[in-house]
Point group: C2
Chain length 144, copies 2
DNA sequence: AGTTAACAGTTGATTATGTAACTAACAATA
DNA sequence: TATTGTTAGTTACATAATCAACTGTTAACT
């Protein structure tokens, strides 16, 4: 049937992208419907929820998101009163970001959902398969 | 160091996305620099290169890309003379897409690069690890 | 001190994407 | 042959991502 036997499904960048999109679809719907936030905003929220007080640059280093994305996500989350910004005393270029009570609540809510969601994705794989998968993905993501 | 022990690196949608982005970065640079095309266009090009003559809908079914994306990618590729469109005689809604000689050449060039590139990504994993990885990704991508 | 470079973060212009509404063609049924 | 529904593909509008240029601040070097 095929004209050329190159297999897109074995081309890792393509396959990874398909898996990433498919697997994030339902979760995306949840944070969108429930809080009206975007993927970028969700990520910033989670970084602050997990690591506590951080600067935009630190979030950028960890997440590899571009700084303009982060800047705009921070703006949105500030408008929604999910985080507060505080200038650093020593270095006035730097801003420390921290979740508000409302931001914390949203984070914990979504975190709970993420855990359940993640558990569902894990189903269907053995422990060993999951281990191999995680190690491989971390390596591919450059966090090996 | 952490405030909350939820691990983003174990949250599959996030981890998959990181791996997908990181792993496609260098390849993306190549098709962008060399042919000035986008990811969507690259995908359409590959579908036609692999399967030969196809319609936009068929590409959509296989790739799960949205039809508007495909429509615009086809326009761009047509402008660049990488493909030709031909109305179906029996059903005049349908358009058959086919690569031109130039499109074929671009496909073969990129296909070769993709193969080498994919091989490099595979390095560092054992055969068994790669097998598990591919099976898992296919399942997650809904192509189980 | 004065100049230059580097850095944190923002903004603006361009480009890409998603959603919904649309056109044109075909199919099914009455 | 009307009517209604469905399909292939496009377009318009609103939203989001990207890139480069920008402000304000600190660091480094002379």
């Amino acid at each position: 049937m095929e004209k050329d036997d190159f297999d897109l499904q074995n081309f890792l960048p393509y396959l990874l992208n398909q898996a990433a999109e498919e697997s994030s679809l339902a979760f995306q719907k949840i944070y969108k419907d429930r809080y009206g936030i975007l993927r970028t905003e969700w990520r910033v929220l989670f970084h602050l929820g997990i690591y506590g007080r951080m600067t935009a640059s630190e979030i950028g280093d960890r997440s590899k998101m571009h700084k303009t994305k982060i800047s705009r996500a921070v703006q949105k989350l500030t408008e929604r009163r999910f985080l507060t910004r505080a200038r650093d005393d020593g270095d006035r270029r730097v801003e420390h970001l921290e979740l508000t009570t409302a931001g914390e609540a949203a984070y914990r809510d979504l975190r709970g959902i993420a855990e359940v969601y993640n558990g569902r994705l894990d189903d269907g794989f053995s422990d060993e398969e999951m281990r191999v998968l995680r190690v491989a993905l971390r390596k591919l993501a450059g966090m090996g």
